[in-house]
């Protein structure tokens, strides 16, 4: 059974806050849900499927109770880090195709800026994951684990810091038009490579922002979508994957789980990478974008550095307009998890509701892809392909 064409993203809302000392994390989830319902033209009572991940305090039971979601008949709290919410759109589409729900709510929210890293709990040698005792003592962080992928990519393919910097430059060109973006200044390649080193070879400007906030999307079946007034964004294909060292005998840190999920999503949708008009590509770090672009087939493995250079990701300039909201690198990375904002900006583009300065002309086919967890150890990935109906 395929999900192709059986579900529609009819509501999308990105919380305008980037710093929320006066709000709770559950409150942010609820405000995002309310925003997405209003956008769709639905009410809370219409929700019969609920999807959340590790950022949701107490998980689906507490959140359903807190928000008063009384009519749920389908729940899913699959957690693959920041890619969870892209995966959730796929799972919601499966549930809708199987008749298990008709209006699915997906939320993400949190406040790492005002409350610290919080969930997920910092890795510890005393943890109970099988790898904890063998890996946690070595000071692995998100920064230096992704940085090790960059070191290896540079070694194998000659990728440069200047090429990686172009990814941040492109995001900044888009963020200047987003009044809610945390960082709205246009930056140059020199600005990026001269910003302080965080973990070699990654600079501060190779890293995404830390923000409070969140977002929500509503996925419905065809019948509900037909009754709503919003432009229809139809789901064409979705796939997911997970990759890790898998015992370390053939470690390859230059390839992500996008190489697993991408081809399956394209096959289900019946389209190819060159058909995509706009792409939301998870940008926890610049290197994340580069590796995913290769793995999704937008260019050959190892050619990512040349592909992203010279503004090729800037809307109106390059061949692959990406993250036109400014992405995680400039706009928003709520709860240290960016997946939902990737879906939301793709929906804006397909509706023709992106900022006019970054709106892709005739944007009828879009992709959203996320990597959650750590590219340098074990991570999940989700690819989603959508069209304007």
């Amino acid at each position: 059974m395929s999900i192709k064409g059986k579900s529609y993203i009819m509501g999308a809302f990105e919380h305008p806050t980037r710093k929320a000392p006066d709000k709770s994390a559950p409150q942010l989830h609820a405000e995002c849900a309310k925003g997405a319902l209003a956008d769709a033209g639905l009410t809370k009572a219409d929700i019969d499927g609920f999807f959340c991940a590790g950022d949701a305090p107490g998980g689906p039971m507490s959140m359903a109770d807190y928000m008063g979601l009384r009519n749920l008949r389908h729940l899913d709290s699959t957690d693959v880090g920041g890619s969870s919410y892209i995966l959730h759109v796929g799972h919601a589409s499966e549930a809708i195709a199987a008749g298990k729900c008709s209006v699915a709510l997906i939320t993400l929210a949190g406040k790492p800026l005002t409350e610290g890293a919080g969930a997920p709990a910092r890795a510890s040698a005393l943890g109970t994951r099988p790898e904890d005792a063998f890996e946690s003592p070595y000071g692995g962080t998100t920064h230096n684990q992704y940085a090790m992928c960059a070191t290896r990519h540079m070694y194998e393919y000659g990728t440069t810091s200047e090429q990686l910097a172009w990814i941040k430059v492109a995001a900044s060109h888009h963020a200047q038009y987003n009044p809610n973006a945390l960082l709205r200044s246009v930056v140059t390649v020199d600005d990026v490579v001269n910003s302080p080193i965080i973990a070699t070879p990654l600079h501060r400007m190779d890293c995404c922002v830390v923000t409070d906030g969140g977002g929500a999307v509503i996925v419905t079946n065809r019948e509900v979508a037909g009754q709503l007034k919003r432009p229809k964004v139809r789901v064409l294909g979705a796939a997911e994957g997970v990759k890790g060292p898998f015992g370390g005998s053939s470690l390859d840190l230059t390839v992500s789980a996008a190489a697993l999920s991408g081809p399956k999503a394209f096959a289900e949708a019946g389209v190819k990478p060159s058909d995509i008009k706009y792409a939301s590509i998870y940008d926890s770090f610049t290197i994340t974008v580069l590796i995913q672009i290769e793995d999704l087939g937008f260019c050959a493995k190892g050619h990512g550095g040349r592909f992203v250079a010279d503004g090729n990701l800037i809307s109106g300039v390059g061949k692959l307009p990406f993250n036109t909201d400014g992405g995680g690198l400039c706009n928003n990375h709520p709860s240290n998890r960016g997946g939902i904002t990737k879906v939301i900006e793709a929906v804006r583009q397909l509706r023709g509701e992106a900022h006019p300065k970054v709106q892709v002309r005739n944007c009828d086919l879009a992709l959203a892809h996320g990597t959650g967890g750590s590219l340098g150890t074990r991570h999940g990935a989700a690819t989603l392909i959508m069209e304007r109906e």
């Binding site: 919080g118 943890g127 070595y138 684990q145 940085a147 960059a150 070694y155 070879p201 015992g247």
Partner: protein, 141 residues
């Protein structure tokens, strides 16, 4: 949730806590106390793996044995972490001479000398407490 701290503490020293040992990994840590770094080897598919498992992560056979490595390896990749309250450190994957690549730190060496492909050798560091297992690290040869 804790507040984020951005100010480095010059007096802070990186702590090495003893690993949590469980029924499966007990023999790995017992061998560590004898200075042996164990990796997994599968008699069914002849592949090596790390960290060691009871069931082979490749063919799922239970015909695994845990062998002591030579302690020789080469750097697969690395990063020098500068955003650290206890000072810069080198995280790396090193590929053991016996096959598998493992996550570790490169210590007691000039970071400038670290390159992909650099030969490295095993060194042990004690963890906090009495009679606790040491942890395996590597240094550039």
């Amino acid at each position: 949730m804790a507040q984020t701290t951005s100010e480095p503490d010059a007096s802070a020293v990186r702590r090495l806590l003893p690993p949590r040992v469980n029924a499966e990994t007990m023999r790995f840590w017992a061998a560590a106390q004898e200075g042996k770094l164990l990796y997994g080897y599968c008699d069914a598919c002849h592949q090596t793996h790390y960290y060691p498992r009871t069931l082979c992560p490749y063919c799922f056979s239970d015909e695994t044995q845990w062998k002591a490595g030579s302690g020789h390896a080469v750097v697969y990749t690395y990063s020098i972490m500068h955003r650290s309250p206890t000072g810069p450190y080198a995280i790396a994957y090193v590929t053991l001479a016996e096959g598998p690549s493992i996550l570790t730190n490169l210590i007691d060496c000039d970071f400038e000398r670290i390159k992909i492909g650099s030969p490295v050798k095993l060194v042990w560091r004690a963890t906090e407490g009495d009679g606790t297992p040491p942890l395996p690290f590597f240094t550039v040869v």
